[in-house]
Amino acid sequence: MRQRLLPSPLMSAALLALWLALARSTSMGQILLGLILALVAPWLTSRLRPTRVRVRHPLVIARFILRVGHDVLVSNFEVALGVVFWRFRRPQSKFVVLPLELKDPLGLAALSMVTTVVPGTVWSELALDRSALLLHVWDVSDEQEFITRFKARYEAPLREIFE
């Protein structure tokens, strides 16, 4: 019964919080509207989510978010400098094929968010059997080093969280 009524409690909580933050009020009416949204939206979309979300290790998640934030900042300056000094130095951008061990669809979705948000990388293609990922990288001199770093920095914590 609880399964049916609340297919994904985390999403419901997030939706309610989102509604109240957008309405900027915690009056009874807004809470009621938010509750309706939080109950109906996950129920309507539950068929779109094939697997149940199991999120563990909140500390790892927090550290991962901070790490991504830091990398986004660094990468922003790299790409900005690369564009400004385009005439003097061309970045060595190329496609990199990464072997993947992360198989969880939600983990992969999170990884695609990370690669898109970091300006230096563009998620280009995922192998059909999820064994490899094609990335377009803005500036990479040592491909092997980039792959090792990427796997340790992003893939390892995501596997810890989702698998």
Binding site: V83, T116, V117, V122
Partner: protein
Amino acid sequence: MSEVPFWVEVVVAALLVLSGLFVLISALGFLRLQDFFLRMHPPALAYTFGSWCVTLAGILYFSMLSERLTLHPWLIIIMLSMTVPVTTVLLARVALFRRRVAGEPNTPPVLTRPDDS
């Protein structure tokens, strides 16, 4: 309603200018870069650092103005990082597909298992 202190105005102005600068560089990248996949990189400046600066400026200014913590602009950052990947990944996939069909050089082959190839 009270005025905000001078230092807040300075910080907010600096953040807004910084954001504008990054959006400008992102547009410059569009103009200068010739390859589609190279062009996929600069827009990220606008939707990450550019929007982060504006968000931070908004939080700081309105928190000081109303003298209570105004955190809901954070939603901009969260929503952007949730929605942008959808279009970006779609665009990249379409571009790869078209290049392969057109048989353009420097296009990576379809990914298969390492032991197959």
